[in-house]
């Protein structure tokens, strides 16, 4: 990628920059809308007048949200979940991907293992048996119910094993010659060289844990133990206006249809995860400098 000095190159560059800028704007709009709504007076928000700029600017939705014990408590649970679950996912993914990245000649049972794992991506026993299992393991209402069942993300394993395989074979062969074992090769060679891949799967893992809400609702026995996404689900879900069954407090509906508070919660809920990205982004930018590795 060297600067091209031709005129057509410059036009192409300009077009690329323009296209990207346009795409970025289109992607930014909905979030800006949510942000603007969260900072607006609720009457303007309800009337659908707020587009990209707050009307009747106020911070009171944020004050309301921050003062809600549920919100901060569930955010704490989510952070705990991401930390514990993310580390476990990452460790298991690396451990599992390494042997599976070997060629069949080096590891005879590789294909069997791969299919054992891939099969779980496609087939699942469903909700009921999973629930019974968690119950029998006495993990209901515990954060482990949110972490252990998905401890090994097979999709990430497959991504990582492909990255591992794309590393030059000579490297590990040379290390073998020097008497390094599998463990040493994995930790000292593969892991440092796979920074972009590891950043990718870390991001997937973190986002996955942060966004997962259904397991929280099913496995937790009280709203006090909900992670943030489960809590938000109860806030943003569209309630049926059908005159059936359960009674529903009007105040809840009014709170819930207060778009500004909803928007503030959504924005705050996405904020931590958005903050993580720039840190991981570094790895997508740098990449492997093959030349220096080879020497």
């Amino acid at each position: 990628m060297v600067v091209s000095r031709t005129g057509s190159g410059r036009i192409a560059s300009f077009l690329i920059y323009a296209a990207l800028a346009l795409i970025a704007i289109v992607c930014l709009l909905p979030l800006l809308n949510v942000l603007a709504v969260s900072l607006s007076g609720s009457q303007y928000a309800t009337a659908g007048e707020v587009k990209l700029w707050p009307i009747g600017f106020t911070l009171s939705p944020y004050r309301f949200v921050i003062e809600k014990p549920e919100f901060l408590r569930s955010m704490g649970i989510s952070l705990e979940r991401v930390a514990l679950g993310g580390l476990l996912n990452l460790a298991l993914t690396v451990l599992t991907a390494y042997p599976l990245a070997k060629e069949r000649g080096q590891f005879r049972y590789r294909s069997v293992y791969v299919w054992v794992f891939v099969f779980t991506m496609l087939f699942s026993g469903g909700l009921i048996p999973s629930y019974i299992l968690i119950k029998e393991l006495h993990m209901l209402d515990s954060i482990w119910a949110l972490i252990l069942p998905g401890a090994l993300p097979v999709f990430n394993v497959i991504l990582l094993l492909n990255f591992f395989r794309s590393l030059p074979k000579e490297l590990s062969e040379a290390a073998h010659m020097d008497g390094a074992g599998h463990w040493k090769i994995l930790w000292k060679l593969y892991v440092p060289l796979s920074a972009p891949a590891l950043a990718t799967i870390s991001l997937f893992t973190i986002v996955g844990h942060w966004n997962a809400w259904f397991d929280g609702l099913i496995y937790m026995n009280s709203p006090q133990h909900y992670p943030l996404s489960s809590y938000l689900q109860t806030v943003i879900v569209n309630r049926d206006l059908n005159s059936l069954n359960l009674s529903q407090d009007m105040q809840v509906l009014r709170d819930l249809s207060d778009r500004t508070v909803k928007a503030a919660q959504i924005f705050l809920g996405a904020l931590p995860i958005l903050a993580v990205y720039p840190f991981l982004q570094r790895f997508f930018m740098t990449g492997i400098v093959m030349g220096s590795v080879k020497e």
Binding site: T46, L127, F214, N238, D240, L241, D249, V252, R254
Partner: protein, 592 residues
């Protein structure tokens, strides 16, 4: 694609939305101090106890007509333990330090009845049905719990429920019996399975859920129109609202009639419009096609309300309105929340909906446009006679059931007696109802594991408040009604946030119109079928419901000719409807 794979899969299977939750009820309590409360009572009737309810049946509830050993409020020595499950929502307020696990009711159960009630789990309203289903199928059931009709049926069929016949006979207090009625009549009817009482209905009996016509009064005045007397007037108002720029902004951007894509909703649905033409269709979009409405035909047999010719007439009128641009072209893509925003932003001047519509969503509009004023009219008919209105909530839809494994099913009856006694009995105690904490009034009665209810609380409160205002004397009011009274006064002194109380309980309010409905029970049309969903309903119901929803929507939008209705009727019959009709009539014959 990432770590939430498993969740996604479950979600797809289970859907991400709520069970059908209703607004009909509970709203009234929220009004005490503008929404510090939560009420878990019955649909279509407030669960709020009320001083204007009938006086206690006897001076003391401990004078049972039943055998001596059966004391309705007798204490267990030594104490026993019961487990249950609860649903809650963010509107529920607690006294300092209280929780659903530990509050005045759990203490009362423990101290006075010797019953320790513990919650196996607590979940948000919207997730209750789902989590309960998982518990049921996993065999992880508490001792007693709340179910809907379908869950009740499934559990009863699988012999999972305790027979309450004897326990109710012997242990229900007179007060309880007076309100629940005898087994042979009233709402207990729907809780019978094979001749045995298998559940306690906790709602039903209410008459509060028919639609009204909500119209922008300021628009009527501006265009010099009168309130509707006939459905033709309704049509005319809708067309004028769309054509004559009632908001005076010089743009052709208003509509006459607001609708949302879930056409059977209690807000901006079509129920009231259909009632005006003598049509009583009902088949909610997000249900499984098993909650249908049946009326008595000329020959005395039960007939599916949705295939009657009156429905065709009404749909034709809606199509007419749509074609005249009196209904938004987007209605079929807007859900209730979206339709509400459309209306509160001043784009549309009329909708059909239930009494709580003033509280939500119309109250929101007062913030935006204080000049907007709404008038509430009782439904009108095509020929100007009083329209017969449809009540769906008259039949119970929620039940308390008892696990067949429980050795002491009568303990559950005692919990109910306890609630009734503390709220309506001779030893009535306000601490079990509403407690004032600082500025707030906190409802404590929703903490009860079983909530009993009167049906006509809202109406009684309306009458009492009206009377008190006339006399300027609120001293006879119960705390709830006193709350409304205070709110009405503060509205009159300019407190706009209490506008909805005026529209609900004040002059020319929803309950004034409701009183008109209630003046004669013949004004009401009730569902004649209140048995469990029949076999073919379960098997074909959702397919037939989809067919109906599609055809109705397309007809209204003019995307299908009105005569497609006839084809729908034929399709409905041939695809299982005839079978369902037979089953329903077989039920009717067995029951009556």
């Amino acid at each position: 694609m990432n770590g939430s794979e498993g969740d996604d899969r479950m979600v797809r299977k289970w859907g991400s939305i709520s069970l059908a939750t209703t607004l009909v009820a509970a709203f009234v309590m929220a009004g005490c101090s503008n929404g510090n409360t939560k009420n878990e009572g019955a649909a279509s009737a407030s669960a709020s106890p009320s001083a204007s309810a009938p006086a206690p049946a006897s001076a003391s509830a401990s004078a049972p007509a039943s055998p001596v050993d059966a004391d309705p409020l007798g204490k267990y020595e030594p104490g026993i333990e019961l487990t249950t499950i609860r649903h809650t929502n963010s509107g529920m307020k607690f006294l300092n330090g209280d929780t659903l696990d530990d509050n005045i009711f759990t203490k009362g159960y423990q101290d006075e009845l010797g019953v320790k009630v513990t919650n196996k789990w607590v979940v948000d309203d919207t997730q209750y049905a789902q989590k309960l289903n998982v518990s049921i199928v996993s065999g992880d059931l508490p001792d007693f719990f709340e179910v809907d009709a379908k869950q009740f049926q499934t559990l009863a069929e699988s012999d999972s429920l305790a027979d309450l016949t004897e326990a109710y006979d012997r242990y229900a207090s007179e007060l309880t019996k007076k309100i629940w009625g005898d087994k042979s009549e009233g709402k207990l009817d729907t809780a019978m399975y094979k001749g045995k009482l298998m559940a306690l209905p906790i709602n039903g009996g209410g008459l509060d859920d028919p639609d009204f016509i909500w119209i922008r009064k300021d628009w009527l005045d501006k265009l010099g129109l009168q309130g509707p007397k006939t459905m033709d007037d309704v049509m005319n108002i809708a067309v004028q609202f769309a054509a004559k720029d009632p908001d005076g902004n010089g743009k052709n951007d208003t509509y006459g009639l607001n609708m949302n894509k879930n056409i059977w909703d209690g807000y901006a649905g079509i129920t009231g419009f259909l009632n005006g033409y003598g049509a009583y269709a009902y088949n909610p979009t997000n249900s499984q096609g098993t909650s249908t409405f049946w009326i008595k035909g000329a020959d005395g047999s039960l007939q599916f309300a949705d295939i009657q010719p009156e429905v065709k007439t009404a749909l034709g009128k809606l199509q007419e309105l749509f074609k005249q641009k009196a209904i938004s072209p987007e209605w079929a893509t807007m859900d209730g929340t979206k339709a509400a925003e459309f209306e509160t932003s001043g784009k549309v001047g009329m909708h059909f909906g239930q009494f709580w519509n003033a509280n939500w969503p119309l109250q929101d509009m007062k913030k935006l446009n204080p000049k907007a004023d709404w008038a509430i009219y009782p439904l009108v008919s095509a020929d100007g006679s009083a329209a017969k209105v449809q009540s769906i909530g008259y039949r119970p839809s929620r039940y308390i059931v008892v696990n067949s494994k429980l050795k002491t099913p009568e303990a559950v009856i005692k919990l109910l007696n306890f609630f009734m006694e503390k709220n309506y009995g001779a030893t009535r105690d306000e601490n079990y109802h509403i407690v004032t904490q600082g500025e707030e009034q906190v409802n404590t009665f929703p903490y009860a594991a079983i909530i009993g209810s009167y049906s006509d609380t809202n109406q009684n409160d309306y009458a009492a408040v009206t009377e008190a205002i006339k006399n300027g004397d609120p001293s006879g009011l119960n705390p709830t009604a006193k709350g409304y009274y205070d709110n009405l006064l503060s509205y009159k002194s300019g407190e706009m946030s209490m506008w909805w109380v005026d529209k609900t309980f004040g002059r020319q309010s929803a309950f004034e119109a409701m009183a008109q409905y209630k003046s004669d029970m013949n004004n009401y049309v009730f569902n004649e079928f209140y048995g469990s969903p029949t076999a073919t309903m379960v098997e074909r119901g959702s397919t037939l419901k989809d067919l109906e929803a599609t055809v109705f929507t397309k007809i209204i939008m003019g995307a299908a000719p009105l005569d497609d209705f006839d084809r729908f009727v034929a399709d409905w019959k041939s695809q299982g409807g005839d079978q369902i009709t037979q089953e329903v009539n077989a039920w009717a014959q067995a029951t009556h």
